[in-house]
Amino acid sequence: MLLEQTISTRGTEPAPETFVLNLGPQHPATHGVLRLKLTMDGEYILRGEPVPGYIHRMHEKMGENRTYAQFLPNTSRIDYLAAMHYTHALVALVERAAGIEVPPRAEYVRVITSELNRISSHLVWFGAYLLDLGGFTPLLYAFDDREKILDLLEAITGARLTYGYYRFGGLANDVDAAFVEGTRAFVTYMQPRLDLYRKLVTDNIILRKRLEDIGPISAEMCRRYGASGPVLRGAGVACDVRRTEPYSVYPSLDFAVPVFPEGDCLARYRVRMEEMAQSLRIIDQALTQLPEGPIQAKVPRVIKLPPGEYYSAVEAARGRFAIRVVSDGKDIPYRVKLRTPSFANLTLFEEASQGMMLPDALALLGSLDLVIPDIDR
């Protein structure tokens, strides 16, 4: 109803008592260079228009003028908080298209590192979200835990964010016993920490009052905008690429897809908190099942995909990330399309924020878990 009202007033002169608040591109709550053009009536938002594009780096175009192997490092840099998942999408695409058989050990290590990356990404979101809500201390607790993941991943990949760890047909390096031990230790360490977060933050009455019934997003709205990931699962739809379009060794692992039907900020919050616990479960199982063996399949030196269209999707930390490649048979793709979850999730904001108050709209914005380079790519 509110949407219709706003649409009908679009293009006409704004009412004299409204004003435009330009939130960003430099603002503490946008965590990057996102700009929101808010037409406000007092503290109420009549229309909140996101203006992305401030950190556009033409990743798609870059993909179209370099070989597949040269494009691989770029995938770590689209969403720098979930580099593993993005690299996974590209390697899975090329492996499927070129018919490369990946050794099982490599697949298990991919799952372990991907899930570690998911936890670290959710921890950043958790900290940053609490910062948006005015609580500073949980941020540093979360970063303390995340540091442990980064140390583990740095030891095997050599980098702390832009891992670039997966290769077509396998991995860049094998994992050693220290990593396996360290990851086991992390899993046992992290479970009580999640408990601490629940007691300190999730159960806190101030936070609950702040998030309950704020920013409702329905499943129908998610469908219209193509939202995915925790936003969609927070709206009651059990849609997870790991389940619906299984890839890697996820089918052999037992994990739940957390779903909360309320569709408010608290539901999205709880989906992510629950996902961290599930990721720990996945890591635990994958470590137990981790087979010995090679980590790299035999791959031609120059990768050329047969002409055609290829598509590969993964469940990244923020939702469904997919790459579509059109190949004309050369070693350089003809067209690369990146379908990033943050962009689709951001488009919700304009409709969902209508009639909200400014602090609630920022709570909504934070609950979408946007990474700005992922929007602009």
């Binding site: 503490p28 005015g134 500073f136 201390t137 540093l140 101030i206 009052k209």
Partner: protein
């Protein structure tokens, strides 16, 4: 102390100025160190031992910066606001008795004076926000006025409850009534009102809201309003706002010490003095810091709802209860 009148005034004026200035500077250090400990990091360490000279370094940095006035701003009000914001805290402290002998002014209406001056602080922040001609600042100015109007009421209701028990507005006399052990302090004076700890809790919540401390820091709310009313302030004019926040916390906690925790009275009845006052004061300030670094911020409208739907009815109830009990016994 027996000092002739004009000198006594001067002495206490200088003393209060120094006390507020020193405390405002070093409470920043306490807050930074405290926050760091809650977050398991060391906090300031580089300037002086344990970072003790950090406030001085900060002050020097702020003082050496240019005070910028935005071209659109109301120049007079913009400059007036920082001056106005620190003054009430100084005036309030003049009435606080630090010990039996130490106190700038022994006023019969001390409590009234504290609240009268305490309200000017709000005006100053509002003026600053309004004069900045910044959208964030104006939102913040509107917020701070409604917040303070809402919280002044339960705070005064609580204080009236206490006044009925004490029968005086003279802060020195209020402290003297609480002599002889911690069970005589007003917070535990359950005979007058069995809900006295709740009364203190309401007072404390109002104190946080009146001084714009987290979780009620709506005026600043850095993730929503950038820096709220202080967005356009640079250099020392910002520094003064910052100091005023701590000066107000100091006044608020002093008042809580006097009203509820027996001022300079020792908890065991013997050895009362200034040290006890300071100990209680800083413990309360630590509590304020502790609360800030534990909780997220509330929403603005919930903050108002909390006051109008919970604190005001409850404090009214306590008021009636106390009145009834006093009448009966």
């Amino acid at each position: 102390m027996n000092v002739p009148e004009p000198y006594r005034l001067l002495l206490y004026l200088v003393g209060t100025l120094a006390f507020v200035g020193l405390n405002a500077a070093y409470l920043v250090w306490v807050e930074r160190k405290g926050a760091a400990r809650f977050q398991r990091r060391p906090g300031p360490t580089e300037v002086g031992p344990a970072g003790l000279l950090q406030p001085i370094a900060d002050a020097l940095k702020l003082l050496s910066k240019q005070v910028l006035v935005p071209p659109e701003a109301d120049r007079l009000l913009f400059r007036l606001a920082p001056l106005l914001v620190l003054m009430p805290a100084l005036m309030c402290l003049a009435t606080i008795p630090f010990s039996a002998a130490l106190g700038a002014r022994d006023l019969n209406l001390g409590l009234v004076m504290v609240f009268a001056f305490g309200s000017i602080n709000v005006l100053a922040i509002m003026l600053g926000g309004w004069a900045s001609r910044n959208k964030y600042s104006i939102i913040s100015a509107a917020r701070i006025v409604s917040q303070n109007v809402a919280y002044e009421i339960p705070m005064l209701l609580v204080v009236i409850t206490l006044l009925m028990v004490t029968g005086t507005m003279n802060l020195r006399e209020i402290v003297e009534q609480q002599a002889g052990g911690f069970w005589h302090w007003h917070i535990l004076r359950l005979t007058a009102n069995p809900l006295m700890p709740v009364t203190f809790l309401i007072f404390f919540i109002c104190l946080l809201a009146e001084t714009n401390r987290a979780p009620f820091d709506m005026a600043e709310a850095e993730s929503e309003l950038v820096a709220g009313a202080f967005t356009e302030y640079a250099g020392m004019s910002f520094g003064v706002f910052f100091m005023a926040e701590y000066a107000n916390v100091l006044v608020g906690c002093s008042l809580a010490t006097v009203l509820f925790f027996g001022g300079w009275q020792s908890p065991v009845g013997v050895g009362s003095g200034l040290l006890w006052f300071l100990l209680k004061l800083y413990l309360l300030i630590f509590l304020v810091v502790w609360v800030r670094w534990t909780f997220p911020r509330t929403q603005f409208y919930r903050l108002l709802n909390l006051s109008w739907t919970l604190l005001i009815p409850v404090s009214l109830g306590i008021l009636l209860l106390t009145a009834g009990l006093l009448k009966v016994f």
